[in-house]
Symmetry: C2
Subunit: 232 residues, 2 copies
DNA sequence: GACTGTAATTTGTTATAACAAGCATCAGGC
DNA sequence: GCCTGATGCTTGTTATAACAAATTACAGTC
């Protein structure tokens, strides 16, 4: 047909850059993605129930793709099912929060170590994010600081060039999303130097062990404000 | 009502053991579970396409729950979607296999360390599994040895009492399922003592560092037979 | 024979309806 | 007042059909 086929077209001619595969995003995909960022941004409170039909009218789609989007997030443990089968925003338990921190220590630590021999320009992105975080702390804009902190850790993980690890860590952050807004409830710990800085410096020196240790310290000593919002 | 309610019934009477919550397993859940164990047991070869309607007739259910089961496994990355949107058994790349091993080193290592102060009876289960593995090696029953090896590692992870970590590790094993049957293609490495034994001994001594190291060695030096069946 | 255009089949996607189970509301009786 | 029972509504689950896109099969043409 006239449309560009994926497998080698007729001519050996090189295609212009603007010829790229059409991305067809299904309705369920769109709902899924929207809900996911809402979760990560802390816009859905724990114990909120996401009933199927009300949700589908809110998204302007039918029940089938809506159910698909919700169940996908349930499969990722970003959402949960209550006894009735209704989708609900889960409330982390203390044990779960501690476990997530332990796993993050291992995985983010490994990603940082793996990213220690990266080009300087890639570390610049981290530097820029941390600069914005400091700025937010100064101006007391904690809501934005929370999201930037998340972005810092995820960008750090991307540096490790380990897609599977990244995906796991991202899921852990999504699971913490609903309580992340309380990250700085206990105030901002005024450690000197900030662990983020120690991470960045270690990366620039190419010292993978130091990077791993700095990540561990950042995870272990931060986030104390979250403990007030977990169960048991 | 007449049915046993979950929250404390009228009387303070202790309920007999045989009174247990009714488990209503949906059709999609059943299909999901069946496909999952088939995957973990290596009964689905990479690149196999699982088309929606043929699958649903094979399971004797309609398209909706079938699609739900398939997409749930896709969400867990145990299955994948090709360009057309057809569900397909993924073929691991070399990078993915290496990454999975690295992640398993961290997580299974942590689980082993956390399980080092467990009751002796729980370690006995590991001992029993490993005994069966040795037996299978002796009798050249490699197909069973593969499944037992998987069970050994998962049982070890359960010892750590970290549900989130366990679930992540289990997913990694499911992803390797389709090529796991080739675990011993290069023969059984006749190391002495077997890393499993070192793991068990370390657990019995309550030495978490030794347990972690033994796990690392088991993961790093085992599974060389898999590399022949990954891409790139 | 190789290529091309068309028809038929199969594919994933979405909407809709039927179903059963659960919950809430409210009237009625003690 | 409090409990009981019925009714109606809302919930998740499943089946089915309509749709569009893509692939396949096949015949016609050069």
């Amino acid at each position: 047909m006239s449309s560009a086929s994926a497998s080698e077209p007729d001519t050996g001619e090189i295609l212009p850059d603007w010829v790229r595969p059409i991305v067809k995003e299904s309705l369920s995909e769109r709902a899924y993605r929207e809900l996911r960022v809402a979760l990560m941004r802390g816009q859905l409170r724990p114990d909120t129930r996401l009933r199927l039909r009300p949700m589908s009218v809110r998204f302007g789609i039918s029940a089938t793709p809506m159910r698909e989007a919700l169940l996908r997030l349930v499969a990722e443990k970003a959402l949960a099912l209550d006894a009735r089968g209704t989708v609900v925003v889960p409330r982390l338990t203390l044990d779960q929060l501690l476990e997530i921190r332990a796993i993050r220590t291992d995985l983010e630590g490994r990603a940082a170590a793996a990213g220690a021999d990266r080009r300087a320009t890639e570390v610049d992105e981290l530097e820029a994010i941390h600069a914005q975080i400091s700025q937010c702390h100064a101006s007391r804009d904690f809501a934005r600081a929370v999201n930037l902190n998340t972005e810092f850790h995820l960008a750090l993980c991307r540096l490790g060039q380990m897609p599977i690890l990244y995906e796991i860590v991202e899921l852990l952050w999504v699971r913490c999303g609903p309580i992340l807004s309380h990250l700085y409830d206990n105030g901002v710990p005024d450690w000197e130097p900030h662990p983020h800085r120690r991470i960045i410096d270690a990366l620039r020196r190419g010292n993978s062990d130091a990077a791993r240790d700095a990540v561990r310290e950042d995870i272990e000593h931060g986030g104390s404000g979250l403990f007030a919002h977990v169960r048991a």
